[in-house]
């Protein structure tokens, strides 16, 4: 079986995978990083969103072997080094930007992707950027608020 190695949340990891092993499977099953969730099979819900080489991708729609040598960041890598919530995570808690929590990792990763490129997004820009992330609980109202608050704090 082919071997894949990559950096995940700052740690070098490697493992044997099949050609068909998805990045999401490698993270969840190979590395037990179960914060990355699988909510659909047509790459629409975005619960599996992670960052690969600094940009958001849907990890259920990418082969593990395609990420060979890449820098991967997952929800497990978003907290501060001391374990406290990062700015975006804290904003989601402060503004009740999550309910059941299942879409949340993908939402946080999508929000981080947006704020890295646009430090002061408008409400419309936030909503547009969340096009590929479905939440069934919040109606997005508080997710938008959370991202606005995080943007304000990150400046």
């Amino acid at each position: 079986m082919p071997t894949v190695s990559m950096t995940v949340n700052g740690k070098t990891v490697s493992g044997e995978v099949e050609g068909r092993t998805l990045l999401s499977q490698f993270l969840r099953e190979g590395l037990s990083l179960t914060g990355t969730h699988i909510g659909c099979d047509t790459a629409q819900c975005g619960a599996c969103t992670v960052h690969v080489d600094g940009v958001a991708v849907k990890s259920c729609n990418m082969l593990a072997l395609e990420a060979d040598g890449a820098e991967v960041r997952t929800i497990e890598g978003m907290a501060n080094p001391d374990g406290s919530l990062g700015v975006i995570q804290a904003a989601f808690q402060e503004h009740h930007g999550l309910q059941c929590g299942f879409c949340t990792p993908g939402m946080v990763m999508a929000a981080a992707d947006l704020l890295a490129a646009n430090s002061a997004p408008s409400e419309a820009e936030i909503r547009a950027h969340l096009d590929g992330n479905i939440c069934r609980c919040t109606g997005y109202h508080n997710i938008v608020k959370s991202i606005q608050a995080a943007a304000a704090q990150l400046g």
């Binding site: 082919p2 099949e18 050609g19 068909r20 998805l22 099979d41 047509t42 790459a43 629409q44 975005g46 969103t49 690969v52 940009v55 958001a56 991708v57 849907k58 259920c60 729609n61 990418m62 082969l63 072997l65 395609e66 060979d68 999508a110 992707d113 947006l114 950027h129 096009d131 590929g132 992330n133």
Partner: protein, 260 residues
């Protein structure tokens, strides 16, 4: 998914060689192919990733055209095709941000999904599709729903878009998939106007020639007033009838002209 062999060559020649196997398929960004394979609706024995070929990457501008490498992502085109703003805007509204970070122009054009955006851009721009073995005019390239002039194992190396005087793409999104329910690209060149329509026809992307003639004579929305498009071969599905799509073609063409 069925299992397969994965290879990631670094040159076009190696990729072409790898694709010589009967059941090998090229993998661009995989945004269509991987979901299809997950449903077990495709079973290639080998996937040849084009992501490692430096020659297929990037956007270059010069000589009155924008040239996009076959493995360039939509996000890169959106960011770097500023010389052709309508093309950059179109690329920046394909799928969603995460999809745009993976999906490639070569994958989209080669797939020729009847609701995809890039085929409309290529056809309306009179683009040239360059492959590992030849150059194909967009008019000859798109041959019906999911059908192109590509031969087995042929790789799109670049798509060259002549920069128009003015252009605009109007997409009316299907509410679920966010693909184009109908999309219309209008591009005005010194020698005439080209209008390409995606999402509407069962035969895939097409040029609305009557509109082109009318707009070449008079580049105003009023020029389209008396034109109508035949709904006969339009897609009819749970999101809209053929009549509705035909109607949208005209509405969006007008809006594209008005926005140019």
């Amino acid at each position: 998914m069925y299992d397969f062999e994965f290879v990631k060559p670094s040159t076009v020649a190696d990729a072409v060689a790898a694709l010589a196997d009967e059941d090998a398929m090229a993998l661009g960004g995989g945004q269509t192919l991987i979901p299809t394979m997950k449903q077990r609706l495709a079973s290639p024995s080998k996937l040849v990733s084009l992501a490692g070929i430096a020659d297929l990457q990037g956007v270059t501008t010069g000589g009155g055209s924008v040239s996009v490498g076959g493995a360039t992502t939509h996000a890169t085109v959106a960011a770097e095709a500023g010389a052709y703003p309508a093309l950059a805007a179109l690329a920046g509204d394909i799928g969603d941000p995460a999809v745009r970070n993976r999906g490639t122009i070569g994958g989209s054009v080669a797939n020729n999904d009847p609701s995809a955006d890039y085929p409309a851009a290529a056809l309306a721009s009179g683009a040239t599709i360059r492959t590992d073995r030849r150059e194909i005019a967009a008019d000859d390239f798109f041959q019906g729903m999911f059908e192109t002039a590509l031969e087995d194992g042929e790789i799109i190396t670049a798509v060259d878009f002549p920069i128009p005087e003015a252009a605009n793409y109007q997409k009316f999104k299907q509410p679920a998939s966010r693909f184009a329910l109908v999309g219309v690209m209008v591009a005005k060149y010194p020698d005439g106007v080209r209008v390409a329509v995606t999402g509407a026809s069962e035969n895939g992307v097409f040029r609305w020639k009557e509109a082109e003639t009318a707009l070449t004579k008079d580049f105003r929305t009023d020029a389209l007033m008396d034109l109508d498009i035949n709904p006969l071969n339009m897609i009819s599905d749970l999101h809209g009838t053929g009549e509705y799509r035909a109607h949208l073609v005209k509405v969006l063409t007008k809006r594209a002209v008005a926005t140019c």
